[in-house]
């Protein structure tokens, strides 16, 4: 029954279809015609579009248009850059940009020539060029970019006075860097449109720049803007502030210490310092020299001809990029030299293949036919491992590496992060070179830090892992982002990369490296009251006579709060060993920073205090003597002095700071002839000899460092007044690599 019904329905449809069949056949042909026509026209459209967009497509015309319409956007205020304590490193200051609509200006009462000449004076412009710009038949020109508000006010008054229309004063901002050269490569700078070009300004540009607002205009029926229509403003959203981990004070300390070392040792390729808090990988200071004034990034760098310098040409920019703009701490790759021995030692400890009291031999060692010597001739011979580290003996480390084995050695190198970029939030980080298929010989040379290169930032990051208990962290330069009201928008957390070595290994490393500073090659980094641990390094480069002296330190050794890396590039002074010239810089920095961070000093017996010399003039000699004694100073008198006479002259003069126990030469009434002595040669004398010599001559000395005198502030043979303060620097010159 159901079947039948279905059949019927089917049949019915069939008959109806028959009626249509012919028609449909015809119609299919006809629709094809339509579709053919359609396809043809679509192809035509595609062709035309291809011609318009791809063949004739013109980006240049658009750029011009964009420029003309720049004022339709409201610029947001660019966020500031602060140090970790809120000190301003980069700020935007309000300035004004002067634009004009030449078509409107022409309708003013005064002549264009007059306007051009007045404005040229006001904004220090070329009058002829300005006049020709004003004569153009365009809607929009820029007269002067980023002028001070005072200049803008001057123009406002002038416009009012002469009733000139068509000249506009627009709000604008300009970047100002209050600290000029300090941390210049880290902070970076911005271009003419306030876009970040280098450093943090470039990396954090998307947060700093904010979102521009807009001025919307009503349009008439034809899409033309109505000239006097009401306008709607969409307010700009200001950029976020970037707070760095840098501490401005610490940066300044490092900067000054490095600058002095570069001058003292005539380092022709500059140098760098990084200070890191190993506990959270915060970079407290990052110094790269040579540097530049951020307020004039395109100014002529040292060593270039100022007369031909433009600053904007491609070659000039290239020079800037390779010198002053270059952040050596992340872009330079160098052979770490002996500083790397701290890592080889850590590997040995972690693999448990060496102990401090093991007997080792410092004798030339041959691996795969190549013989490696100690830096010292003759070699140190038989010693304990600890002594080997103190003496920085290369053969000791070669033998240690051979015990560790090639695979493990290079696994550790990767684990310490030397094979990858650290990923610090700064532009342009480089990566050093390693042997791709290292042999035992490659490893042997690498064990004392040669024939591979790393960046300073990799070095300090890896070293921090030894200081913090064995965890490699990602170095951090940005602490947080804040909004204009100071609320924290984003906090940058410390990121752990991996655990590399054990806490025990770290303790042993800190202990042995502390010994390097107290007894070994790093003695020049010694700081009174703080125990510093560190390792010296002196590396050669492919260039003959080009050395890199470095020192890697952590302090205090028992609980490190800072790691310091000092690199002096290409020193051309009398010394080039890291232990001689870089270690004292690291020591000085460590002392300054630890004092600043209020880290408690250990009690040390003979710390000489400084004393301010009192004014004892007009007192009797007896009174003066007792006053000086109260101050901890000694009086130096002419022979046969009458103690009741008045003092008329003294040397040093009042208010000069001298070390406790210094001599003060007193001249009594009537005997005022200046007493002088001839300056002796103090060089190479030790501290005790210098002190005795000075005292015998009636001179005061201010000591820096320990060891042998390498510098005296008054040349031998010069006449000096008794009681003068002579500065003398000491360094350990033996057992220093």
């Amino acid at each position: 029954m159901r079947n039948k019904k279905a059949k019927k329905t089917k049949g019915g449809t069939k008959t109806r279809l028959k009626v249509n069949k012919n028609n449909i056949n015809v119609m299919k042909t006809r629709t094809l015609w339509i579709l053919g026509f359609f396809a043809f026209t679509v192809l035509l459209l595609c062709g035309r579009l291809f011609w318009l967009q791809v063949v004739k497509g013109d980006g240049l015309r658009q750029a011009a248009y964009e420029q003309q319409n720049a004022d339709r956007f409201i610029s947001p205020a660019r966020g500031a850059i602060y140090d970790r304590n809120g000190k301003e490193l980069a700020v935007s200051v309000s300035v004004e940009t002067i634009t004009a609509s030449p078509i409107t200006v022409k309708s003013s009462d005064v002549s264009l020539e007059f306007i051009a000449s007045e404005l040229a004076v006001m904004f220090d412009l070329d009058e002829e060029k300005l006049l020709s710009k004003l004569n153009q038949n365009v809607q929009y020109i820029i007269i002067a970019r980023k002028v001070d508000i005072e200049k803008g006010d001057e123009l406002r008054a002038w416009l009012k006075k002469y009733k000139v229309s068509g000249i506009y004063i627009n709000e604008d901002t300009k970047r100002y860097y209050p600290l000029k050269n300090l941390a210049s490569q880290v902070i970076g700078f911005t271009g003419a449109d306030n876009q970040g070009l280098e450093g943090i300004e470039a990396v954090m540009d998307r947060y700093l720049k904010g979102i521009p607002g807009k001025i919307l205009s009503e349009i008439d029926a034809n899409g033309l803007e109505l000239p006097f229509s009401t306008e709607t403003k969409i307010n700009a959203q200001d950029g976020f502030n970037v707070v760095l981990t840098i501490d401005e004070t610490i940066q300044y300390m490092a900067d000054k210490a490095l600058e002095k070392a570069l001058v003292d040792n005539n380092c022709i390729d500059g140098g760098s310092v990084i200070i890191m808090d190993p506990r959270n990988a915060d970079i407290l200071a990052m110094v790269s020299k040579p540097d530049f004034d951020l307020n004039q990034p395109f100014a002529v760098p040292p060593g270039q001809d100022a007369s031909t310098w433009k600053g904007t040409t491609a070659e000039d920019t290239e020079i800037l990029r390779s010198t002053v703009w270059r952040n050596k701490t992340i872009m330079d790759t160098y052979e770490p030299g002996s500083t790397f021995k701290s890592f080889t030692t850590a590997m040995g400890y972690e693999e448990n293949v060496v102990h401090d009291h093991d007997s080792v031999v410092c004798q030339p060692v041959t691996v795969l036919g190549k013989t490696m010597n100690c830096w010292k001739r003759p070699p140190h011979g038989t010693e304990t491992f600890r002594e080997g580290v103190y003496n920085s003996c290369n053969p000791v480390f070669v033998n240690l590496a051979l015990k560790i084995g090639v695979d493990k050695f290079y696994n550790y190198i990767s684990a310490f992060g030397f094979r990858r970029k650290t990923g610090i939030d700064l532009p342009g980080e480089q990566l050093g070179l390693f042997h791709t298929q290292p042999t035992a010989l490659d490893m042997s040379v690498a064990s004392f830090g040669q024939r591979f290169t790393v960046t300073p930032i990799q070095m300090i990051t890896a070293f921090s892992s030894l200081a913090n208990g064995g965890t490699l962290l990602k170095p951090k330069i940005v602490k947080e982002l804040t909004d204009q009201d100071g609320n924290i928008v984003k906090q940058y957390e410390t990121e752990a990369v991996r655990d590399v070595v054990s806490v025990e290994t770290c303790e042993r490393i800190r202990d042995i490296l502390e010994g390097v500073v107290s007894e070994g090659t790093g003695r020049n980094a010694k700081v009174a009251g703080y125990n510093v641990a560190g390792k010296t390094g002196t590396s050669q480069t492919t260039e003959e006579g080009h050395y890199i002296a470095s020192f890697l330190a952590m302090a205090p050794a028992d609980n490190p709060v800072i790691c310091v890396l000092v690199i002096l590039d290409n020193p051309k002074g009398p010394y080039y060993y890291g232990g001689t010239i870089a270690a004292p810089v690291a020591g000085e920095i460590a002392e300054d920073v630890l004092t600043y961070l209020k880290i408690k000093r250990r009690e040390e017996g003979e710390v000489k205090k400084d004393v301010v010399v009192p004014d004892v003039r007009n007192m009797t000699v007896a009174q003066a003597k007792s006053t000086l004694k109260e101050y901890g100073l000694k009086a130096l008198l002419n022979q046969g002095v009458d103690e009741n006479k008045a003092v008329t002259k003294q040397s040093p003069l009042p208010n000069i700071t001298v070390p406790e126990g210094s001599l003060v030469m007193l001249y009594e009434e009537g005997r005022e002839t200046v007493e002088t002595v001839t300056m002796p040669n103090l060089l190479n004398l030790d501290e005790l000899d210098v002190a005795e010599t000075a005292e015998a001559l009636g001179l005061n000395i201010r000591i820096s460092g320990t060891g042998n005198a390498i510098f005296q502030s008054v040349s031998p043979g010069e006449k000096v007044e008794k009681g003068s303060v002579i500065e003398v620097s000491f360094r350990y010159m033996d057992k220093v690599e």
């Binding site: 329905t9 069939k14 028609n23 629709t31 967009q53 029926a221 034809n222």
Partner: protein
């Protein structure tokens, strides 16, 4: 009785025209993205965009509803619907309000409710009735009566809309009619005669019917210097915008002309220029492909429709889309004179949106009721 049985027997899920439906949804989505960008820097842009979203949603619902309604039901109402639309077109002349934007007084507002353009919805009513007459013409023996009806009914709305004046929309009716006529099957000699008549009427139309600005617009295709300042401005802005898009465009919300309000009527007639500038040749290419799929699909449905009424309705609707698409794009790239013709499913405009979705619903309904493969292979 058979009609009801037929409806029941349809497997809606299997026979639903997914290709057509999703092509339209894709075009609509593409359009909404473009419109968001086009209205971004406009004073009342947010409102325009919001309305468009409502209309798109409402339209989709309407189209899906119409999908279920058997299109043959319209045969019964076609004449009344047509009559109502003609009345509305007439009403425009008495109570209509003009909007300067389209340069024509073509709007009708129902106080307290909404404002709409009768000429939009009239297109559908027109196709529904003219298709019915063509169906009769192809089945009955005595064609004279229907031929006269065709002549009268085909001309009335065209004349009214031309008089509004909105020559662009009037042409949509003409193109739709010509396509249905072509599908009906007109002999070659009639085409020649028709062509002759049109050819002869051009001088007359030129002399008496076309207004000077309309003449200029047509002439300006061949002699660009004849363009009025406004037209020249519009077309130059549109061309500059499109050409600056190059391969991949300047990016959404980044078009210089678009975001600086450099493109005239960029939310509607010239939205294609916005797409050209911000999405480049690639973006425009995607849109062209979608429209090509849409139109080919509609004519395929026309060719395989269950009955002749379906064939004519689908062809008429296909003709309207075809005209809107070609005319709008052609105008944007300076190939055709400027007429206020929106791009279907893309340009802002409530009446047009709803009308386009209604038309789509009707075509979906025709497609759903096509016979297919299994037992009833049509003779093609």
């Amino acid at each position: 009785m058979q009609l009801v049985a037929k409806v029941r027997s349809i497997d809606h899920l299997r026979k639903f025209d997914y290709i057509l439906f999703f092509t339209v949804i894709a075009i609509t989505a593409f359009g909404l993205v473009s419109l968001k960008s086009a209205t971004y820097s406009m004073k009342y842009g947010a409102g325009i965009y919001k309305t468009q979203i409502y209309m798109a949603v409402a339209g989709t619902v309407i189209a899906l509803f119409l999908n279920f309604i058997d299109y043959r039901i319209y045969k019964t109402f076609a004449l009344y619907l047509y009559g109502a639309s003609v009345l509305m077109l007439l009403a425009v002349f008495f109570v209509g309000s003009g909007s300067d934007e389209v340069g024509a007084g073509s709007w009708l507002s129902i106080p307290g409710l909404f404002k709409f353009q009768p000429s939009e919805i009239a297109k559908i009513m027109y196709v529904l009735l003219i298709a019915l007459i063509f169906e009769k013409l192809s089945t009955v023996e005595n064609k004279a009566k229907y031929f006269i009806m065709l002549m009268i009914f085909a001309v009335i709305p065209v004349g009214l809309i031309f008089k509004e004046p909105d020559a662009g929309t009037a042409l949509a009716f003409v193109v739709s009619f010509i396509i249905m006529l072509f599908v009906y099957g007109i002999k070659a000699r009639f085409i020649l005669i028709g062509g002759g008549i049109i050819g002869a009427s051009i001088p007359i139309a030129w002399r008496f019917i076309l207004k000077p600005y309309q003449k200029n617009r047509i002439l300006s295709i061949f002699q660009p210097e004849l363009q009025t300042a406004d037209d020249l401005y519009q077309i130059n802005k549109a061309k500059t915008a499109i050409s600056s898009g190059q391969w991949f465009g300047q990016g959404l919300f980044k078009g210089i002309q678009t975001q600086n309000n450099g493109i005239p009527i960029k939310e509607s007639d010239f939205i294609f220029s916005v797409i050209g500038e911000e999405m480049g040749f690639v973006g425009v290419g995607v849109l062209l492909v979608l429209f090509t799929v849409l139109i080919i699909r509609i004519f395929y449905i026309a060719a395989t429709a269950e009955d002749l009424y379906g064939t004519f309705v689908a062809s008429g609707i296909g003709g309207i889309y075809l005209y809107h698409f070609l005319q709008n794009v052609g105008m944007n790239i300076g190939l055709l004179p400027i007429t206020g013709i929106p791009l279907p499913f893309v340009s802002a405009g409530g009446s047009a949106m709803i009308t386009n979705f209604i038309a789509m619903g009707i075509v979906l309904s025709i497609s759903l009721r096509r016979s297919d493969g299994m037992f009833e292979k049509p003779g093609i």
